[in-house]
Amino acid sequence: MDRSKQAVAQRLADAHYAIEPGIELIVQLIAAPDREVDVKEPIKLLEVNQNTTTDGIRPVFFGAHLESGIYYPSVIVEVTPREYERLHRDPNSLPNGWRLGHEFAKAVPAGPR
């Protein structure tokens, strides 16, 4: 199993897309480069979810879970599609110097052949 931060982030994003149909997009949040290389720096996912409340940026923290292949702590930020539009226009409104990073694509279910 790939233990890189990027691979773990992808696994988390895939799992969250699979369990929550309301998630439209998942974007990685990136800290300053010197922080991001630290193994203690959490994976940070911004989840655009039509089923969440409009509460602004409220990061929630999760620990690493080695048994399930989550080798790093993680921070999840859920926002509504409207909040994401605003964030996209003003990325500086993200806290902790975070910036928007890689967008994780939603897997397209295989159709009938």
């Binding site: 799992a15 089923n51 409340t53 409220r58 929630v60 620990g63 080695l66 399930s68 999840i76 859920e78």
Partner: protein, 173 residues
Amino acid sequence: MSASYVEWRIAYARQALADLHARDRILEHSDVPDCQQLHFLQMACEKVCKAYLCGQGVDPETLRSSHAYISGPLPVIARQQFAQETGGPQSDRTWVINSIRALARKIELLAPAIDAGGRQPSNCEYPWTGPDGTVQVPCGYNFGLDLLYEKAGRHLLKILYSAATELTKLPPL
């Protein structure tokens, strides 16, 4: 002079926030058993719900002696937050509320005093006797509750932070 319901509401909410922050600190250490962060999660849920109930005019004295105040109020708090949403198309959140209700019951059962009539003695604090007669210990037990992977799990945590923060505020004069 006795403290007002508002004072109790704010006090419960402040302590709930402290419990949530303690949970965050615990999660920074992957060698700490799961029961510890779940214990703080259970306590935070209970205090957010008690803060909410004090704000609704429930006598704080009646709330002090029980831990069974999560599965009822928590889905109501979540529904209220959705109801406050304005503008934009509203999607059907029934499944979110139902998922939060199920999670709230699981969290409520983490308290040692709540055991579903003896059917679920597992809890985050004290050892108990398992179905095979052996003594089970919280620090070695898999509670099967990981909000990172549960439906609406992340949302439940967001609601807890949001509600606790809101409930610490003084009402407008």
